[in-house]
């Protein structure tokens, strides 16, 4: 069996040789990767420029009342702020791939400040992304099953209603209902000795607060993608062939809508990581939100620049995945 397969291949390739599908996919992936990394580098350069060009620097931010100009100049020198901009830019950009995110206004390496909190935030954001994916695909399919019916209209209307709610408003509502009035779930996050959340129950409310607006957003995307896909001729054929409704949905509609759904979920990643900053503050969750809250109090822009660099890298990764899903779903035709 295996022998006949290998013998068959040279014959097939004897004509004008097409590029093998595997190689084509690999080339496509490499191109997409290079493109994404270039975009990330441009963002990071813009972030550095923003920190640099806007008035006020890290030495100003941490200055105390009555501090002499000489002290300020000394700390500026200590932080390296008196070196030429081009030199510091080069140092910052070349340091990033090695995990060096620069120095905070207090003189600590930003990478050390983020080493423990960032994995916690990724856990929170990752769970919220998973909940968003499952819930929005479920609601979207549910609504699409009876197009134009009361259920469809109800799901679409609620999705539109909640997608614009700021996360902190959702969080307040959740805390009131589930923590204060019913006492089912804890309203604050306690941490273990290693700095991670002490129990899974403490993750439920933050994850929900983050996911609910995104579920509204993505349900609409899933619903619209399914509606577009339902117009395709092969779906009509499948329905006319008498295939059961759920089989048409799972084997014909969803695979076709997959690239759009993946792109929608990928764009949610940025919203989730941004929203995590807010939600973590409310639930006292030990993530980058608490680091940023401290940075806000200290007016510490190098820390923010470091957080932007790391989240930008994560979002780049997720967008890359969405690109690959699209390439895979279209069988290397893109």
């Amino acid at each position: 069996m295996a022998g006949s397969l290998t013998r068959g291949e040279p014959a097939a390739a004897s004509g004008p040789r097409p590029v093998p599908a595997v190689l084509r996919t690999a080339l496509y992936a490499a191109g997409v990767l290079a493109h994404r990394i270039l975009l990330l580098a441009v963002l990071l350069a813009a972030v550095f420029a923003a920190v640099e060009l806007l008035p006020g620097d890290a030495a100003d931010a941490t200055s105390e009342r009555g501090e002499s100009a000489a002290d300020l100049a000394a700390r500026r020198h200590l932080l390296g702020l008196d070196r030429p901009v081009a030199e510091r830019f080069w140092d910052w950009m070349t340091g990033l791939p090695t995990g060096d995110l620069g120095t905070s206004a207090r003189g600590e390496p930003v990478a050390d400040l983020l080493a423990h909190p960032f994995p916690n935030t990724l856990l929170l954001g990752g769970l919220a992304l998973l909940v968003t994916l499952v819930a929005s695909v479920a609601f979207g399919c549910w609504a699409a099953a009876r197009p134009g019916g009361p259920l469809d209209r109800g799901v679409s209307a609620s999705a539109t209603g909640i997608l614009a709610l700021p996360e902190f408003v959702v969080a307040v509502a959740l805390v009131l209902v589930f923590a204060l009035w019913t006492d089912w779930l804890p309203a604050v996050t306690l941490t273990d000795a290693d700095g991670s959340p002490a129990s899974w129950e403490m993750l439920v409310l933050p994850v929900l607060a983050l996911a609910i607006p995104q579920i509204g957003w993505n349900t609409r995307i899933v619903r619209a993608a399914l509606a577009d896909e339902a117009k395709a001729p092969h779906i009509e054929t499948a329905v006319l062939d008498g295939l059961p409704r759920h089989r048409v949905l799972t084997h014909h509609l969803l695979p076709g809508a997959l690239p759009t759904i993946a792109a929608g979920i990928a764009t949610s990643t940025g919203m989730l990581l941004g929203g995590a900053v807010v939600v973590e503050t409310i639930f006292n969750y030990p993530g980058i939100g608490s680091v940023l809250a401290g940075a806000v109090a200290d007016r510490d822009s190098p820390v923010i620049a470091g957080v932007v660099a790391v989240t930008g890298a994560v979002i780049t990764g997720v967008l890359l995945l969405a690109d690959l899903v699209r390439a895979w779903a279209s069988g290397g035709r893109t």
């Binding site: 614009a164 408003v169 619209a224 807010v278 940075a295 923010i304 979002i315």
Partner: protein
């Protein structure tokens, strides 16, 4: 206006009669709530910065919604706390829509500009808006409200330009615009007199969507304490300040939350009603 242009925007025009009445019904709550937020400071029964009752006092008597962390009247502060949020968001929405209208029309007429805008939007997709606003406000400590507005506009424009450019492309390709271009009309004339007048429905919808996004961003900035500073009455700031006393007087947190929630939902309802086409484009890019 030529018939070609009419055909190009026929899809974008709102359906007549019954459709229009439904649109008005959906826009009305947002208009009422915005008007209430703007007029609120005049309706407040107490001064926003003077203690009236005990800290976190329960509702009753002089303070129908109780007191906040300093014993100030929650009702008065809720009534006063929406104006700045609404004014700032309206300002952001107007600026983004105006800049995007011009840039979008130019991108449709000059593809090279369009490509630059596309790439900028691709780059900004990697920057969560909340982090972007923190970055700008912290690097510019004296910027205050101007910093929040600047950051919101910069972060919002690229997506908005995409939307306008998409809608402007068929108009720019229409015969009468090409004729005007061949006739030697300058770019500015083409943008203002030929392209933009055909995009009224799109621009109105865009304004609604950008208002939704601006309410989200401005409120979140307030919550993160980079917007209005105490003792200002601001809904987002009130939620942050009073969350410690949520057990004692939930209304100090609940009332501003409901206010922001209602504002966000009603404005979004209005924006969704104004969007000419349904489907994926109807989802606002925050």
């Amino acid at each position: 206006m030529t018939s070609t242009a009419a055909a190009a925007v026929a899809k974008a025009a709102p359906p007549p009669r019954r459709g229009r009445r439904r649109t008005v019904l959906r826009v009305l709550p947002a208009l009422l709530l915005t008007a209430l937020a703007l007029a609120g400071p005049w309706l407040a029964p107490h001064a926003i910065d003077a203690p009236v009752v005990a800290p976190y006092a329960e509702p009753g008597g002089d303070a129908p919604l109780g007191g906040d962390q300093l014993g100030r009247d929650v009702l008065s502060r809720v009534l006063a706390g929406g104006r700045e949020l609404v004014v700032t968001s309206l300002l952001v929405a107007v600026l983004v829509t105006a800049v995007a209208a011009v840039l979008g029309a130019v991108s449709a007429l000059r593809p090279a500009v369009g490509r630059v805008v596309e790439r900028t939007a691709d780059v900004l997709m990697l920057l969560p808006a909340v982090l972007g606003i923190l970055l700008v406000t912290l690097s510019w400590p004296d910027g205050g409200r101007l910093a929040v507005v600047t950051a919101s506009v910069v972060l919002g424009v690229p997506y908005a330009v995409r939307l306008v450019a998409g809608a402007a492309a068929p108009v720019a390709a229409s015969g009468y615009v090409e004729a005007a271009a061949v006739g030697g009309e300058r770019l500015g004339y083409l943008v203002v007199r030929e392209v933009l007048p055909n995009l009224r429905a799109t621009l109105l919808a865009l304004f609604g969507l950008r208002f939704v996004a601006a309410v989200y961003l401005v409120a979140t900035a307030g919550f993160l304490q980079v917007g209005p500073q105490p003792p200002a009455a601001d809904w987002a700031l009130m939620i942050r300040e009073n969350s410690a006393g949520i057990v004692l007087n939930p209304w100090a947190v609940l009332a501003p939350s409901i206010a922001i929630g209602l504002l966000a939902m009603s404005v979004n309802l209005a924006a969704a009603a104004l969007v000419p086409t349904t489907g994926r484009k109807a989802v606002p890019a925050l």
